[in-house]
């Protein structure tokens, strides 16, 4: 039970994969956005912290400079040498933001901010109450060494990556929780089918064996046609039984690969389905060339049975069933209802049935795909609604 449960969990359905992919994409986008937002906030906070630590020093410089300007104002224009300080660069601007004198390396001044960083320079802006030499604004400039920025980036990258992976793991856990109800229902259905299938075996074998043993020559025509109908019904159930048995029990068995004659196998299977073909008044069109394949005969029989069975099931009354065999290629086509283009990617999903008018559990094509994938056989589906479907196998 544990093995089959794990198998069910490991083999995600296409629709499940799509849901999982959508969920994870949305989740990853959200966490990336959230981490970026946090990083931006952290960066800004650290920048503000650094600027506030510089603010006291720069304020002191601006105060010293204002005092020097006061002295210069008093002695102007006997003295015209602008005061300089090795610790900082400065500039003075009037009330209309016009430069009176500047020693700044970067002259991009933002008069709306008290302290800011511009191209590796920190600018501090002090507004004066007395306009010495006409100065309303003193700008103090010091070089920004950028060490604080390196530390911040290291922290952002380091912690950002850690946070991303932590959130990702959490997301995967959430996705698992999110898929659990879907998965549980599949496991439950598998278990139910397995139990039911086991109970079908004995009565079905008895029906088929007895039909084979009956002497139809001594029967009246009315009874012969009734028996024929029983035979058709029994064979339909038999195919379903084989699929379910394969799905629940046989697929775990070891492969017995051998070189098989496909022409002979197809002829054998068409004869087996003959009675179903006749019941729907279909016509076989067989174009079979000699071809072989190294495969487990039991498994490939399931593939052919399912494809022919579908071609019969979904065919129109009095339609055609065309089977073409070439070396490396097998095509089984019908002239039935066809499949809508947007449904084609999902037809191999287990328990997916697009047409409720016909019986079945929706497991046939899932088995076909599983076996074909195992042997690296490519399958192409060409279908037009109300025209028919063609399944082409290439190896």
């Amino acid at each position: 039970m544990l093995v089959s449960k794990n198998k069910a969990i490991n083999s995600l359905l296409k629709s499940e994969k799509k849901s999982l992919f959508r969920f994870l994409t949305l989740y990853v986008a959200m966490i990336v956005f959230m981490i970026l937002l946090l990083c931006a906030y952290y960066y800004q906070t650290q920048e503000k912290l650094m600027l506030s630590s510089q603010r006291a020093t720069l304020f002191k410089y601006a105060f010293i400079h204002a005092k020097r300007l006061k002295v210069l104002h008093h002695f102007f224009d006997e003295r015209v040498k602008y005061p300089r300080d090795p610790r900082f660069k400065s500039a003075i601007y009037d009330v209309e933001y016009k430069e009176i004198f500047s020693l700044l390396e970067n002259k991009n001044i933002r008069f709306d901010k008290e302290i800011y960083i511009v191209d590796n320079h920190i600018h501090f802006l002090k507004s004066l109450d007395d306009y010495y030499l006409g100065t309303k604004y003193i700008v103090i400039e010091v070089l920004d060494d950028g060490i604080w920025r390196e530390i911040i980036w290291k922290n952002i990258i380091g912690y950002g990556i850690i946070a991303f992976f932590v959130f990702l793991l959490f997301g995967l856990y959430l996705a698992k929780l999110f898929l659990k109800p879907m998965r549980d229902s599949i496991v439950l259905l598998d278990r139910f089918i397995k139990d039911t299938t086991h109970e079908l075996n004995t009565p079905l074998s008895a029906i088929l064996a007895n039909i084979e043993m009956m002497d139809t020559d001594v029967m009246v025509e009315k009874n012969r046609s009734k028996l024929k109908r029983i035979n058709i019904a029994a064979k339909t159930v038999s195919i379903l039984y084989k699929d379910l048995t394969y799905l629940t029990l046989e697929q775990e068995k070891e492969n017995h690969d051998e070189m098989i004659d496909l022409k002979a196998l197809i002829k054998n299977r068409t004869e087996y389905f003959d009675i179903l073909v006749q019941s729907k008044q279909l016509e076989y069109k067989l174009d079979l060339e000699e071809a072989t394949m190294f495969v487990d005969k039991r498994k490939f029989t399931r593939v052919i049975d399912n494809l022919i069975s579908n071609a019969i099931k979904y065919n129109k009354r009095a339609g055609l069933l065309i089977i073409t065999l070439r070396p490396g290629e097998l095509a089984i086509a019908d002239t039935g209802i066809g499949i809508e283009e947007n449904q084609i990617p999902f037809i191999f999903d287990r328990y997916i049935r697009f047409n409720q008018s016909e019986g079945g559990f929706g497991v046939g094509l899932s088995i076909v795909k599983k076996i074909l994938d195992e042997y690296n056989i490519k399958i192409d589906i060409i279908s037009k609604v109300n025209k028919g479907t063609k399944m082409v196998l290439k190896w």
């Binding site: 104002h73 102007f76 224009d77 015209v80 040498k81 602008y82 009037d94 009330v95 209309e96 016009k98 009176i100 004198f101 007395d130 306009y131 010495y132 030499l133 006409g134 100065t135 309303k136």
Partner: protein, 110 residues
């Protein structure tokens, strides 16, 4: 008579050869202890920019008052308030422009 006319003409021509600032401002300010340079710095301390300062000076010259004077109370009390200017708008603008150009800080700091 001719001699007198010639003298008056020469004096008039000499007077108008000077600019509006020298003609209308310098003569009176020469008698005051505070120089025009010092007064300029006082205006600068209050008005900061060229536009503000020129507007401030013009307003004071048109409507002189102790309340809006750039000079100290002691100075105003000692030397009084100047008379209201009767110069034309153009003459006043020219005089103030020359005053600004003569004493401005722009381009003088090194």
């Amino acid at each position: 008579m001719v001699r007198s006319l010639l003298l008056v003409s020469l004096l008039t021509c000499g007077l108008y050869a000077q600019d509006a600032f020298t003609r209308n401002c310098v003569a009176c300010h020469q008698t005051l202890p505070a120089t025009l340079q010092e007064m300029f710095k006082r205006y600068l301390l209050i008005y900061s920019s060229e536009t503000n300062m020129k507007a401030g000076i013009k307003h004071y010259l048109r409507y002189p008052s102790k309340d809006i004077s750039a000079m100290s109370d002691l100075f105003v009390d000692t030397y009084g308030i100047k008379k209201k200017s009767i110069l034309s708008e153009k003459e006043l603008d020219d005089a103030v422009d020359i005053y600004w150009d003569k004493y401005k800080v722009f381009g003088k700091l090194k």
